[in-house]
Symmetry: C2
Subunit: 418 residues, 2 copies
């Protein structure tokens, strides 16, 4: 009888969830009075969704429209839908979300997916469905990628995710442990989380400003299995922590965030690189990735697990083989120090320096919002249907900044800021 | 720990739910292989939603897109949103649903709302929000009202609804009792529900064809508190049971359904009428309605409860004071015989002859799909943002059909087919 949806799992500290909602709305989204909000999240996250909606209205949001997903329905599709289903998506819904954003709505997303949800499904179906989704989702993704409006993503400790992280614990313990890890990583575990976030974003802004002062032409990565030079886009702009959307709202897109990042030059990446953490991609796990770049393009890709999925991703389009983001995270970041692998990019990318295949972020170019698509491409910004982060940092990684003449400045040594 | 959303309340017979899903997909929606489906329903109905999605895919549906609502979020809005929220709706979402229907998607809706959800909220806010929703929802409602595509509505025994029906029972018992009442009313309780529905729709088709043969000019209602003559639209067409949408699919829009109905003439209704069951309208209850019509228009309206809400509804627009539907249901219908008041129009309208304020159904006019808006209006079809059924039938009601000369033919006597 107590299977009421939205009832809180007793393993989750309600005070922690309250603080996470406060961080999500106040720091993450920074919703403006009178602004609409589009909120996406899984049904299991209802206790957090309800808290976020409450706080958003208290902060003056005009209308919060929830789009609630269900993992069971996603699986039912794989098990029962006809073949043609997997080349199709509800484009009308993504177009509508895009319209809402262009009309000024903010976007709040809650990620709580089972990272292995689709691992037992036909990889061909998964790949086709992902591709169809990437194409259909473009109108909803563009205002996000172009940073037209304030947006933010946070997480919720769902049971299915917790079981993947802690398969040996009983369910209550697993959920409680994931909940506390999320609260800590999201800096929602202190007495004054909003003040803690102010200090943290100021710290990231300091790193960001130093890199923007130096404007390296390239970064050179050295680590076991990695010898890689990544040219940076002409007019690249380092970003980190809080940032200001085109609508003038200063928000924090990722809760948690530990990175400073910028736009690499899609044609100027050379060498080889090895991943240091598994990549969890839409229900599949890809481990021990090793790729070789020539003139910005991946010409060779291997993985000890999920190699077929990874190669299908690379075949999405021409831009899928090129970099769209480069990000620096110290090896001593709290998420790295937790020792946990979350199987969730939102967390794992903040445990390690990383790179992303695919679409670049316009906001990580000087005056990016005002550049035409051609100007973005000319400066080296990559274009693709995908944007997939994967982790390459470790305690053994050195990174140098190179100026145009090739002179090196230490940026990181042994995984830490130099 | 067992608060997993979507887990089935043990008071609900899973076999009954399976049969209800079978009826909804096979009889109600009659989804065509390759067709998309837009499915709306509350989070509490997930056990039925998942069964319906499974069966829809098994029947060949290409993609089912769920739009899942949450009553708690609706209440949070009333308790926390700023004033301006209540004059606003997510028009972008309704436009998108309309687009999906015009592109061929079927629409499946699950109603399981707490009928009194908003009864403690500010009636002014409720009325403004309803009006904003009616306006915004128009693009999504038009393809439904115009019967462009196959659509169907069924119900789920949610806890909040069950508690309103059976406030004196414990929760398990209340949900179980509502579940069994829904299964019985929806003719999903037999061994062969699809065959039962075939027999039932054949029976309704017989009544419908008799009325279409006679084509009365008007109906005259006589009962305690009621002396009413309702002119029927020129070229009205009686409908009942299964019907064929403009896309050629023969579906049953309401599960359950016991009515035959047609389009009245918006300018030719005279007399007074008293409601015989409460009207549950978007969270408010309106009881003992008494209205007087002159030349089709309600010129006086009273109610013992909810009079203010009812009068606000009448003020929605000019068409809200005129009739858009007239429906005949025998007093001996199974839903009437159950003795239950469901506080849900989908059920209660099938317990009693009823009339509806507001928008007419184009499909209840001969060749309705091909008529222009002007032609619909000229034939007497009403236009409004609203469509609200309310019950006027009883075991004491006599109905006569009148031809153009005023000659009477008995249609119902003592609430039964004559």
């Amino acid at each position: 009888m107590d299977a009421a949806p939205g009832s809180l799992n007793p393993a989750i500290d309600p005070a922690g969830l309250d603080k996470l909602a406060e961080v999500a709305v106040t720091v993450g989204l920074a919703v403006r009075p009178g602004q609409d909000v589009v909120l996406t999240g899984p049904v299991e996250a209802l206790p957090l969704i309800r808290r976020i909606v409450t706080r958003a209205y208290d902060a003056g949001a005009r209308l919060v429209t929830p789009l609630i997903s269900d993992e069971a329905l996603a699986l039912i599709r794989y098990q029962h839908a006809p073949e043609e289903s997997f080349d199709h998506e509800a484009a009308w819904l993504f177009e509508a979300m895009g319209k809402a954003y262009r009309e000024g709505a903010a976007r709040m997303a809650i990620y709580a997916e089972d990272p292995m949800l689709l691992s037992d499904q036909d990889p061909d179906k998964v790949s086709r469905a992902n591709r169809a989704r990437s194409v259909a989702a473009r109108p909803a993704m563009e205002p996000i990628v172009d940073f037209l409006i304030n947006w933010s993503i946070c997480s919720y400790p769902s049971l299915s995710w917790a079981k993947r992280l802690f398969p040996d614990l009983d369910e209550t313990e697993a959920v409680g442990k994931l909940a506390n890890a999320i609260f800590a990583a999201s800096r929602a575990d202190g007495d004054e989380p909003v003040a803690d976030w102010k200090a943290h974003t100021a710290d990231l802004a300091g790193r960001r400003d130093w890199l923007n002062q130096l404007r390296f032409a390239a970064l050179r990565y050295t680590a076991p299995g990695t010898e890689l030079t990544i040219g940076l886009a002409d007019g690249h702009e380092w970003q980190g922590g809080a940032a200001t959307a085109q609508n003038g709202i200063n928000c924090v897109c990722n809760i948690p965030t530990e990175e400073v990042f910028t736009t690499p030059h899609a044609l100027q990446v050379d060498g080889h690189v090895r991943s240091t953490k598994p990549l969890s991609y839409q229900g599949s796990l890809v481990e021990d990735i090793e790729v070789r770049f020539e003139a910005g393009r991946i010409v060779e890709a291997k993985a000890s697990r999920g190699e077929a999925v990874f190669n299908k991703v690379l075949d999405t389009d021409e831009g899928a083989r090129r970099l769209g983001e480069v990000a620096l995270v110290p090896h001593s970041s709290p998420i790295s120090q937790s020792g946990l692998l979350f199987f969730n990019t939102l967390f794992d990318e903040n445990a390690s320096s990383h790179i992303a295949l695919g679409q670049c972020y316009r906001k990580a170019l000087v005056n990016g919002a005002k550049l035409s698509d051609d100007e973005v491409a000319q400066s080296g910004g990559n274009k693709s249907l995908i944007h997939i982060d994967w982790m390459i940092g470790s305690g053994e990684m050195d990174i140098d900044g190179l100026d145009k003449a090739g002179n090196a400045t230490p940026v990181m040594r042994g995984g830490e800021w130099a």
